[in-house]
C-alpha cells in the first residue's frame, strides 16, 4: 500500500517534470509549428541562470539570505531564457516559419553552439546548485510514506505555470492577439495586429518557460552543458502524444508518459521501461496520428 502510494506519487512527479519541460515546446511547436531542437539548451540556460543566482547570493548577500536565492532564481531563469529566445526568434526563427523540418535542423545547430558555449563559459564538468533548506525533507503521510518537498514544489510550480499560461492565452489582450495570429495570420495582420511582434513574443515566452523548467531541474538532477539533451526527445514525445496545439493534450500526454514510465520501470527495469514507453508511443501514434486530443479541422493538411 505504502509502495503503491509512493509509486503513484513518483509517477505524478515524473509527469509534472515532463510537463514542465514540454510546456514551452507546446507553445513553440504546438502553436507556432516551429520545431525547436534548442529547447533543451534553453532549459540548460535556465539551470545555469539558477547557478549564477546562487553564486551571486553566496558572494554578495548575507548567509542568512541564502535560502531565498531560489525564489529569485525562477524569474531570473525565465528572464534570461526569454531574452535568448527573443534573440533567437529575431535572428533565425523568423526565416523559418512554414518550414518545420528546416527549423528542426537549424535549431539543432543552434543547440550545438549553445552547448559548446556553456562548455566554454562554465567548463565541461557539472556545477553544483545547493537547493534551499526549506525544500529539504518531505511531507509524511500515512505514517511512513515520505513525499519530498522538492517534488511537491515542482508539481505546484507546474500548476502555477499552467494557470499563468491559461490566463495569458485565454484571458489577456496579448493572448487574444496571439491566438488570432496563430489561427489566421493574414486576417490578424489586416486587423492591425503586428504579427512580427506576436511571433517574437510567443517564441520568447515558450523559451522563458523552458528556463523555468531548467531552474526546477536543478533541484533534482545534474547541471551541465548536456543537460538539455536528456529531456529534448521526451519533451517532443509529450507534445506529439498529447496532440499538437492543445494545452490539455500536453497535460494528458505528460501524465500518460510519466505514469506508464513509472509503472514499466517498476515492473521491469529502467532500460526496458524506457523502451516499452517509446514502443507504446509509436504504436499509439499509428492508431491516432494526431495524438490524444486532436484539433479537428476540415482541412486534410
Amino acid at each position: 500500500m505504502e509502495l503503491f502510494i509512493l509509486q503513484l506519487f513518483n509517477g505524478l512527479s515524473i509527469s509534472s517534470i515532463l510537463l514542465l519541460v514540454a510546456l514551452g515546446l507546446a507553445i513553440t511547436f504546438g502553436l507556432m509549428k516551429v520545431i525547436n531542437m534548442a529547447h533543451g539548451e534553453l532549459i540548460m540556460i535556465g539551470a545555469y541562470a539558477t547557478y549564477l543566482t546562487q553564486n551571486l547570493f553566496l558572494d554578495y548577500m548575507p548567509a542568512s539570505m541564502f535560502n531565498w536565492y531560489f525564489v529569485l532564481a525562477i524569474p531570473v531563469s525565465f528572464a534570461i531564457a526569454f531574452a535568448i529566445g527573443l534573440v533567437l526568434e529575431m535572428g533565425l526563427i523568423r526565416f523559418l516559419y512554414g518550414r518545420p523540418l528546416d527549423s528542426l535542423l537549424a535549431t539543432w545547430g543552434v543547440g550545438l553552439v549553445l552547448q559548446q558555449l556553456a562548455r566554454t563559459i562554465f567548463g565541461a564538468p557539472n556545477v553544483a546548485v545547493k537547493s534551499p533548506a526549506w525544500l529539504d525533507g518531505g511531507m509524511q503521510i500515512f505514517g511512513g510514506t515520505l513525499l519530498p518537498y522538492k517534488r511537491l514544489f515542482i508539481i505546484a510550480l507546474v500548476i502555477a505555470c499552467l494557470v499563468a499560461m491559461y490566463v495569458y492565452i485565454y484571458r489577456s489582450l496579448e493572448g487574444r492577439r496571439m491566438r488570432a495570429v496563430m489561427q489566421n495570420r493574414e486576417m490578424a495582420a489586416c486587423l492591425g495586429v503586428s504579427t512580427r511582434r506576436v511571433d517574437a513574443m510567443t517564441f520568447a515566452i515558450g523559451s522563458g518557460i523552458a528556463g523555468i523548467a531548467g531552474c526546477a531541474l536543478t533541484l533534482l538532477g545534474p547541471i551541465g552543458p548536456s543537460l538539455g539533451t536528456y529531456y529534448i526527445v521526451d519533451a517532443f514525445m509529450v507534445v506529439v502524444l498529447g496532440g499538437v496545439g492543445k494545452l490539455v493534450g500536453t497535460v494528458l500526454g505528460a501524465t500518460g508518459i510519466g505514469m506508464f514510465n513509472t509503472l514499466f520501470e517498476y515492473w521491469t527495469n529502467a532500460s526496458l521501461g524506457k523502451v516499452l514507453v517509446f514502443v507504446c508511443i509509436v504504436a499509439f501514434l499509428q492508431w491516432k496520428p494526431s495524438g490524444l486530443v486532436a484539433m479537428r479541422t476540415r482541412s486534410l493538411d
Binding site: I35, G98, G109, L112, E186, R196, D301
Partner: protein, 372 residues
C-alpha cells in the same frame, strides 16, 4: 542545334564523372595507408548520404533514424567478423556477460554471404515495417521525423541494455580476418577500398537511374504536394515505403563497409547525433542533388577530421554555424551555389524557401490541397 549542345554537355559531364572515378580508383597510388583508410570511411559515409538524399532531398521525408539502418548493417558485418575472429569459441563479451553458448540469432552470421544479405535485409525490412504503418496512416512531415527519433531511442537502448547479445556500449570490436584474409594487411585494405569505390559508383548509378525515371518524378511530385499526387491516381504511401526501404538498404550497405574500414561498431554510432550529422552532410552538400550529397559527406568528414584536431572546441561552433547557414541561407547546399546561374537565376530557390517571414505561410498554401 539544341540537341547537339545538350549531347555536348552530356559528354562533358560523363567525362567529369569518369575522371572522378579514375581519381578515386587510383587514390591508393598517392595516399598513405592511413589516409586511404580515412578516405574509404568517408566514401562509406557518402553512400549513406546518397540514400538519405533519396528520401529527404527527392521525396521530402526527413528521417532522423538513418543511423539505425547504417548501424544494423554495420552490426551484421561486425557479427560475422567477430565470429570469424573468435574461431569457433564464444565471442569474448558474451563470456563476461555470463552467456554459455552462442545465441540462436547469431548463428546465420557465421556465413559471410548470409551476413551480407542480412546486413541489407534487416535495415530494409525494419524500414518497410515502419514505413508500412506510418505512411499508410499518413503520418508525415514532422511527425514522421519525431517517430524516427523514437525508433532511435528504442534501438540504442535495446542494444546497450542487451549487453550479453550485442556487446553493450562497447559494441562489437576486435576482428582479425575477412574470408581468411587478414584485415590488418595493407593489401586487404586496398582491395576493400576498391570495393568501396565500386559500391559507391554502383549505388550512385542506381540512385541516378531512380531519380531520373518516372518513379523519381513521382517522388518529387510527392515532395511538392503529397495529396495532389493522390488525386492523380498514385498511392504515395507505396512510393514512400519503397524509397524509404531502398534508402535504408543503402544505409545498411554503407554500414557494412564502414565496419570493414573502421573495425568497430557501437550503439553510439546509431544514436540521434550521428543520425542528424548524416542529414547535415546532405544539407550542406545539397539536398536534391546526388553529387552534392555525396561530396557533402566526404568534405564534411574530411573537414571534421582535419579541424577537430586543431580546434576541438571551435569545431562544434563551426559545425553548428554551418548547419544554420546551410539550412537557412543555402537550402540547396553548396551544390546549389553552382546551379543558381542557370536560366531562371532568380528562381534558384524553391518556392518554399523564397521570401521571408510571415509571407511564407500564405505562399505555402499554393500547391498543397486547399481547404474544403
Amino acid at each position: 542545334m539544341q540537341l547537339t549542345r545538350i549531347t555536348g554537355n552530356r559528354l562533358w559531364i560523363l567525362g567529369a564523372y569518369l575522371v572522378a572515378a579514375a581519381a578515386l580508383f587510383s587514390a591508393p597510388l598517392v595516399f598513405s595507408d592511413f589516409r586511404l583508410n580515412l578516405l574509404a570511411k568517408f566514401l562509406a559515409f557518402a553512400i549513406v548520404a546518397l540514400g538519405l538524399d533519396l528520401i529527404w532531398g527527392y521525396t521530402g521525408i526527413l528521417s532522423l533514424g538513418h543511423g539505425i539502418f547504417f548501424g544494423l548493417g554495420a552490426y551484421a558485418m561486425a557479427m560475422y567478423l567477430k565470429l570469424e575472429a573468435s574461431g569457433g569459441k564464444l565471442p569474448d563479451f558474451m563470456g563476461w556477460s555470463g552467456l554459455k553458448e552462442l545465441p540462436l540469432f547469431w548463428m546465420p552470421f557465421e556465413n559471410f554471404g548470409a551476413a551480407v544479405a542480412l546486413g541489407i535485409l534487416i535495415p530494409a525490412l525494419l524500414a518497410l515495417g515502419l514505413g508500412y504503418f506510418t505512411f499508410r496512416n499518413r503520418i508525415r512531415g514532422v511527425y514522421f521525423t519525431i517517430l524516427t527519433q523514437a525508433l532511435v531511442i528504442i534501438t540504442t537502448t535495446l542494444l546497450v541494455g542487451q549487453q550479453a547479445f550485442t556487446g553493450g556500449t562497447n559494441g562489437v570490436t576486435g576482428y582479425s580476418t575477412l574470408l581468411g584474409y587478414s584485415l590488418a594487411s595493407p593489401e586487404t585494405k586496398r582491395v576493400l577500398y576498391w570495393v568501396t569505390v565500386a559500391v559507391l559508383i554502383g549505388i550512385f548509378i542506381l540512385c541516378r537511374y531512380l531519380t531520373g525515371s518516372r518513379f523519381g518524378k513521382v517522388l518529387r511530385a510527392i515532395r511538392d504536394g503529397e495529396n495532389r499526387v493522390r488525386f492523380i491516381g498514385y498511392n504515395p504511401a507505396v512510393y514512400q515505403m519503397v524509397i524509404f526501404t531502398v534508402s535504408a538498404a543503402i544505409a545498411g550497405i554503407a554500414g557494412m563497409l564502414f565496419v570493414l574500414h573502421v573495425g568497430i561498431i557501437s550503439p553510439s554510432m546509431l544514436g540521434i547525433v550521428p543520425s542528424i550529422e548524416m542529414v547535415l552532410w546532405v544539407a550542406i552538400g545539397g539536398r536534391g542533388t546526388l553529387i552534392g550529397a555525396a561530396l557533402g559527406a566526404i568534405l564534411m568528414n574530411w573537414a571534421k577530421s582535419e579541424f577537430s584536431t586543431a580546434y576541438p572546441e571551435g569545431w562544434l561552433f563551426f559545425m553548428g554555424a554551418m548547419f544554420v547557414i546551410a539550412v537557412v541561407f543555402l537550402p540547396k547546399g553548396v551544390a546549389g551555389l553552382f546551379q543558381w546561374r542557370g536560366k531562371d537565376r532568380k528562381k534558384w530557390l524553391p518556392a518554399w524557401a523564397r521570401g521571408s517571414g510571415g509571407k511564407l505561410r500564405t505562399g505555402e498554401k499554393e500547391g498543397s490541397v486547399p481547404q474544403g
